[in-house]
Symmetry: C2
Subunit: 510 residues, 2 copies
Amino acid sequence: MEQKVVDLTLEKALEQFKALDEKISHLTSISGLIDWDQKVMAPKKGRNTFAKAAGTLRTEIFKLSVSHEMGQLLQFLTSKENSLNLDQVTKAKVREYNEYYQKSKSIPADLFQEYSVLTGQANDAWEEAREKNDFGRFLPFLEKIVAFKRKFAEIYGYEDHPYDALLDEFEPGLTVKKLDPLFAKLRESSVQLLERIQNYGKSTPDHLFDQPFEVEKQKEFNRFILPIIGFDMQAGRLDETVHPFELTVNIGDVRLTTRYLKNNVRSAMFGTIHEAGHGIYEQHVNPEFEESVLQRGASFGIHESQSRFLENKIGRSNEFWNYFYPHLQSYFPNQLGEYSVEEYYRAVNTVKPSFIRVEADELTYNLHIMLRYEIEKGLIGGEIEAKDLPVIWNQKMEEYLGIIPSTDSEGVLQDVHWSFGGFGYFPSYSLGNLYAAQILRKIRKDLPEFYRYIETGQFSFIQDWLKENIHQYGKLYPPNELIVKVTGEELNADYLVEYLEEKYCEVYGI
Amino acid sequence: MEQKVVDLTLEKALEQFKALDEKISHLTSISGLIDWDQKVMAPKKGRNTFAKAAGTLRTEIFKLSVSHEMGQLLQFLTSKENSLNLDQVTKAKVREYNEYYQKSKSIPADLFQEYSVLTGQANDAWEEAREKNDFGRFLPFLEKIVAFKRKFAEIYGYEDHPYDALLDEFEPGLTVKKLDPLFAKLRESSVQLLERIQNYGKSTPDHLFDQPFEVEKQKEFNRFILPIIGFDMQAGRLDETVHPFELTVNIGDVRLTTRYLKNNVRSAMFGTIHEAGHGIYEQHVNPEFEESVLQRGASFGIHESQSRFLENKIGRSNEFWNYFYPHLQSYFPNQLGEYSVEEYYRAVNTVKPSFIRVEADELTYNLHIMLRYEIEKGLIGGEIEAKDLPVIWNQKMEEYLGIIPSTDSEGVLQDVHWSFGGFGYFPSYSLGNLYAAQILRKIRKDLPEFYRYIETGQFSFIQDWLKENIHQYGKLYPPNELIVKVTGEELNADYLVEYLEEKYCEVYGI
């Protein structure tokens, strides 16, 4: 291997790097597909055995990503002299692998191994704890995970706040310093708006959803809307799972899942639109990035901006339902025949504080996230200890949402994220909302007929804009560069605050 | 690596061998699953890209199987001194890897590469040739493939006939010397029996199948019978494809596919039972062989014996339909209400020479195979040249089956096997029939109530016997040892000849 480095010319290095990138991308694509399969298709009895096979593949990918060869190539390609001679695309690829390499290499192998075993066990413990409403069952694992994460943050390094090191894993470049003022502004205005809605808002007819909606009809309706809103069914699938998700095998094979509930027609409908937002993003990535590390969305936050844009900015707009509601009525004449589109629109935009994040409306959703953000920041910063979480959780729920869960299962134990060590993940969800509002402002400027396109079912104008301005780039730009490139401004909270204010004052006649 | 060999103790070698076996088995399991996915689930637009990813994984598996490490371990473990100390299971694993290693290593890398490219192109050429009924389009590829296969046979080595070297790839230990007399006997009696049926047989009411059978009902019926005949649906799936197949991910995840045709109810029904025969075999392999090279059926021929046993020996028996026909009638009262079970039984056992192998009945099927066997033997032995195949094919069709196809597409171009170089594969199909008849004789001896079990739907007695005597062993025994272990005799044609004679004299009242 050493001799490679000595002999290495730029040409050779690029060739080797391309081959390694392709191999890692191929195996990653396979790893994604088999995860999808095990969640969606695999029969029950085979899954435990297959988990070991899947683990072998993941280990192989990890080994390649932190291999001696990768290290040598990255060192060579990031040298002052050579990096000047790289084209933009190669530079981006090197950036992506280098970030992962530096982080992964910095964690001693035995520490990483110990941590992997721990999170494996923690997941089981969390499931049990949630089922039995027993936080104490999960606590020892959570304490250890937090200790690991604090250690990792020190190893990764940071400028101001240790939590920055973890945020960076999900949203490169994001820091507490940047996020604090954004969230403070959003929280203040959201809490205030929520109060006004509760005190002065004209109630919405959301009881219209308290009816059974035949699952077969729901399926048909979901399949009917997907191609219209821009999801290419020749380059994707729609299946069913308990927890909906989107999985990209390649840009010609993007898989969505959703969940149909007879007594909750909203769940599958908006779930499918949400996942389609993720999926259309991936279908639109530049085909030249196929089989490379760039063939995915820019970051968790940017990805979430695309799913939320489609789900909320488009899918919960008046114009969307002006177009689709007559169709929906034809699928469910008994349930919806007597309700007007205005009533339906107000119903799908009902604001109601609730305990469970994943069921929250567009306004209160961010409050759920900020609660988690405050807790994570405190845990990693050392101001909060894991054992105090049930109390802190409930205090913050009351402060932000005005309600207190009656059990920890409905409270601090509701999310899976901490059990797999995903500290820094939650903020992505609200970042998505912030980005989406900022993008909405820009697209309305570029496409003055934005809402008319929606109202007339001409989604291709909108999807073309998103593809041209965001989707095609895949991981070429880091998220903070991308948002400036798209909107001309750094991420800020003004647009989401304005959007929420405007929308809910209209919906609630305030 | 060298230092490993010097240091190698038996304990260390076994540990390394186990780890390598596990890794190869894991990746092979994944490779199987993704092939299944691309045939059954993947959307059209992603398949080309994914084919490259799948190729990368296959290459990885190949590299591990012929790696320096594997070579060293095999050398160490097959040494006189060490092999004495191996347990039976390890010995079998070493045998399996060693066979593959020796063959693969003996082909020079550039020759293998050239051959891989050729077969890739040959497949396209064959598809085009068949579509356009133009043998000349396929001929140059076929000639080259035959030349390669002759060369490979010389490299692999053989005692009597070069074709032996190729047979051995599909049925270890099988030779022309063994096969010739078996096939001669079977051919003679089959041709004669066919003549008698055609001259003296009482015609069967197979026009009862000339009706449309609703596909949805067919699906329900297939799902109804699968668990009854012994396929564990918690450890498997049933899906749809144009070309039915069985694919094992692991013993808890065995996947069948079938094809539903409105105008051919037999196709899906017997197709599903056939694939279930393969699948039940794999579900029954000893769980201790999981994640090792032994976790599959013994050989192509033994595997086919299990599918044919279930499809024909059981699924086309009088007793099978005594049990299932009332159910089938309840699914299709309009189509079958007026036909008795006797009529139905005779109809599903109709003998009729036809051009296409995959649609042939239980008697004429073997004649299709023997025709191909004669041709392959001649091609590899040098007595036949590829350019003469259309003429030879038609001559033999007339000789064996009394009919001549009007086009090459219906004749010499009908099968895919030669385009991927699968010389030596075809005999497995008839071997399966031979083995199955021999096993039938033995199981009837061990289970005197064999047919009563079928007639009363008590398939578990039969499946338990098959599991105990055949399935559990996976690849532990080579096929020639296994058949002796199971039946006390070497493979012979007597039982199939007797079975066919007895069965069709009854069906045709001769």
